[in-house]
Symmetry: C2
Subunit: 319 residues, 2 copies
Amino acid sequence: MTSVNAGVLIGLDWGTTSLRAHLLDSDGQVLDRRSSAEGILADQKGGFAETFQRVTGGWFDVLPSVPVVASGMITSRNGWVETPYVSVPAGIDELASSLVPFDVSPSCTIHFVCGMDQDPPGGTPDIMRGEETQIVGCLSPGCSSLAKGAAGLFVMPGTHSKWISVCEGNLDRFDTYMTGEVFAVLKEHSILGRLMETGGGPMTGGFERGVSARLDSEASLLRHIFSSRTLALFDRLEPGEIADYLSGLLIGEEVRSAMRDFDGKDDGDSSVTIVGSGALTDRYRVALALAGITAAPAPEDAAARGHFSIARQAGLIDG
Amino acid sequence: MTSVNAGVLIGLDWGTTSLRAHLLDSDGQVLDRRSSAEGILADQKGGFAETFQRVTGGWFDVLPSVPVVASGMITSRNGWVETPYVSVPAGIDELASSLVPFDVSPSCTIHFVCGMDQDPPGGTPDIMRGEETQIVGCLSPGCSSLAKGAAGLFVMPGTHSKWISVCEGNLDRFDTYMTGEVFAVLKEHSILGRLMETGGGPMTGGFERGVSARLDSEASLLRHIFSSRTLALFDRLEPGEIADYLSGLLIGEEVRSAMRDFDGKDDGDSSVTIVGSGALTDRYRVALALAGITAAPAPEDAAARGHFSIARQAGLIDG
């Protein structure tokens, strides 16, 4: 337990479908990690407090007064403690000064990170909870090219993908795309899923075909997605490729639109940092490459890095 | 039974979710009509033949040799008899000469209408089954402004909306928009439905708001639809208006895109014929008006009119 003894902070990245807990040392390094499928939509049998205590079990025996910072959908209306939003442009200073403390017990306080919102005149509002902390983590010391003061564009693939631009160290603008959820409901519940054969295998050539088709098309998405069915009916798309083709159409739409909106140009001379890991991240890397955009990987454990930076800025830990 | 005695043709408009049967006289007037929810996706306990005989029950007792023409998804792979496609541009001549006869019994033959397809070089294929017959019905004598030889643009609202242009009496081009199905799956299965209160009442102001918002926006649809959630979270959209707002966004997207694609201009100086009836048709009328486009109603019983025209052109009935 030597390593756990050196812990100075617990960070909770608590989202819709999962909870990730990190114990960090005074250099911001991850000493121990736990995870659970008990996202806020899961049945919390004993409530969020019991889940929190079970998932972080053991750490408090050794470190009874370790501070805790939490971010993600746990701060939403259906979460544990609803925090307000900090409006863009803003960054680590605003997030650190607006932490919402909540006493779980006389000896344990969780500091909840506020989500961020954006509400342009004449436009529609957008919101995020959790992604702001990951971006702060990407900008933390040690991630030199992305250090505070830097500018850049980030994508966070997911059920609701976020594109976030950073300017002078602040989150400047962000947009949510419902790409992952639209793909899931079309695949599971629409006629487009009827002809699909999905084996959970590696990404097929259907994905690149879909991305390329969408990058080249000005047709409405409501029309273009129907081609995943007609190409299959015409035997020009294999049953095992249809789902990947549809995924490619949607991710291609997202990449094209985001690059136009954020970059203001469509010449492919750009770089985007992909925050995340796993198969979905690979899809975005492929789609960005097809659009002529250089993709850079984000540092690992971005959320934990963000928790550490915010906690230090707020004076919860030394340094 | 006098009127039934005058029948010269049975027309079957047999789609995915319903079957409509019409008995027509020698002027193409509807003498009698039947309908059933036994579309091709319904469980056909005794098969399509038994459903056909039950729904048309009585007509054959009086008119044992009346000819039958059928169109719609009943001619698809999952239907009764799969017919090939006639490619655009084409019209009544090609549809009449390509009828697919099928003997239900020694005394009864159903003549199935071919669907139509479109497969532009470098584009993606599109298909329809049933709508071609309705368009022929809209062009039939008696619908003077739309008579054979006319040009025009038609929209057929539905699960899969079709936009169809007619030139010199032929169906010239058509595009399918998955508007209705995308709305249904987002409402039923995505996070966008969570905050919705839907009482099945009349269309709320949310619909016009959604149409107008979409007509004015260049944002990706994958992003714009998320505003049905955020506007509600920000108390700027009533729970009872959210579903209509989303419907407005999607129909607004369809109208804007189709007018650009078909009209080649975006000046609102256009007219579109809406084929169909009921509440969904009203939505399209409202959306077209907001886009500055004049909407004309199609003649009633367009499918039956189409069956009559095709049957006469094919020599199945005199005239």
